[in-house]
């Protein structure tokens, strides 16, 4: 079980309550697909991903970016047991989607960078530490049901 201080909880809930999901979600996924192009392997059915411009304007990617970000909402609401909260999602990513769990960290890093860019100097080292801790727990939980 992961321990969260009151300050950490408040940092996470604050970030997510001030988030523009339709902007940050797509931006993070787009950045991941461009910076780590091998991650495009999971989106063969999404249409044109041939170059950066195609990726940035692909409506399926836009929708999926928002969807992924909303997927984090349950972790925010259940910070004390993210592992159990995401057990089903982990099975989905392993058995159905066949996503290499190393890729979760790549998307997490892109999300961190997009949020840092949005918050600017407000994204202090302490906030960065808490946010990265949160994403590390999420990433670990998503990888838990891989066998």
């Amino acid at each position: 079980m992961v321990a969260w201080s009151d300050q950490e909880r408040s940092i996470i809930t604050s970030i997510f309550s001030n988030l523009d999901y339709n902007d940050v979600g797509p931006k993070a996924l787009i950045r991941c697909l461009i910076v780590y192009p091998w991650t495009q392997r999971y989106f063969a059915s999404f249409g044109n991903l041939y170059n950066a411009d195609a990726i940035k304007t692909n409506p399926n990617i836009q929708a999926h970016g928002t969807k992924i970000l909303h997927g984090l909402d349950r972790a925010v609401k259940n910070m004390d047991d993210i592992k159990t909260t995401y057990a089903e999602l982990s099975v989905l990513h392993s058995e159905k989607l066949h996503v290499d769990p190393d890729n979760f960290k790549l998307l997490a890093d892109c999300l961190t960078i997009v949020i840092a860019a949005k918050m600017g100097s407000g994204f202090t080292p302490e906030i960065q530490e808490t946010f990265q801790k949160f994403l590390a727990v999420v990433v670990s939980a998503l990888g838990k049901q891989y066998h």
Partner: protein, 144 residues
């Protein structure tokens, strides 16, 4: 990993033009964050009186590190040869575990995103990430 294309090098050099006036501050910010967010990296700086973000030693060292990165940008066509002395320093004297180069690179990219929210596009991000990986590889050349 892959080597740098001509386009990567041009992107890095152009973006570096924007970075260089603030390079010291960017380096200090990245280093400060690294020491907070990845406390295991503090083990290399136990000789400093103050490891907190914004402290004297962190500012000074951030500038030192970025001077090294600037040098690497200038020698981007042959990083292995260009960074030979730095590699020997890191291998024989500093003995920094190469895993930490990735950690510092992540923090540098993050600070660049904060400092240049519009210019640090995904295309610039991938070129810089590739460059910092190539830099780290060149720095590890002399390790064994």
């Amino acid at each position: 990993m892959t080597s740098l294309t001509a386009k990567d090098k041009d992107t890095v050099k152009a973006f570096w033009g924007k970075i260089s006036p603030k390079a010291g501050a960017i380096g200090a910010d990245a280093l400060g964050r690294m020491l907070v967010v990845y406390p295991q990296t503090k083990t290399y700086f136990s000789h400093w009186k103050d490891m907190s973000p914004g402290s004297g030693p962190v500012k000074k060292h951030g500038a030192t590190v970025m001077a090294g990165v600037a040098d690497a940008v200038a020698k981007i066509d042959d990083l292995t040869a260009g960074l030979l002395t730095l590699s020997e320093l890191h291998a024989f004297k500093l003995r920094v575990d190469p895993a930490n180069f990735k950690i510092l690179a992540h923090n540098l990219l993050l600070v660049l995103a904060i400092s240049f929210p519009n210019d640090f596009t995904p295309e610039v991000h991938v070129a810089m990430d590739k460059f910092l990986s190539a830099l780290a590889l060149a720095l590890s050349e002399k390790y064994r």
